[in-house]
Symmetry: C2
Subunit: 96 residues, 2 copies
């Protein structure tokens, strides 16, 4: 499994709505994506209070970087959570 680690800098007055929309997007959009394994919210950063972190497990790297990102599902995902971003997300992938 590949773990996608996402840091998002959220607009200061959007925290609550971001959490709601992220939960909706994770429950409705991600399970439709090929290779999706799991979604895990880590929560808000103690040291940078506007930063939220979550992880998404994928069967392969390409399931995320090609399959999901090039799909209509990605547009639905971004339409839900994108309006709350203060900056573009910081994304890295990890493999064991």
């Amino acid at each position: 499994m590949i773990l996608e680690l996402v840091h998002i800098d959220v607009l200061p007055d959007h925290h609550e709505q971001f959490e709601q929309d992220l939960a909706t997007a994770a429950a409705t959009v991600l399970p439709q994506a090929r290779g999706f394994v799991e979604f895990t919210p880590a929560g808000w950063c103690v040291e940078r209070p506007d930063v939220y972190v979550f992880t998404i497990g994928w069967e392969t790297l390409e399931d995320h970087t090609q399959g999901f990102r090039d799909s209509a599902l990605f547009e639905q995902w971004r339409a839900l959570i994108g309006p709350h971003f203060a900056q573009p997300p910081v994304v890295e992938h990890y493999a064991r």
Copy 2:
């Protein structure tokens, strides 16, 4: 629970030994620490191949930042994995 997220830049020729010593330290040192909940290795970074990420769950922030870091256990932990660091670890904490 507080999630400690750790990025470690590992010396290039130490990858295998680092993984072994991290597994030893996680299995022998962490379970003795007050407030320790769980250890989860995320693995090696696809985008930065010398960077390894893991998380440690703690009951409270202070269990890590005061209890563990000020204890003799921390010295044992660092003695095992510290020799493999190319740079000081990057650590942040997350709470839901």
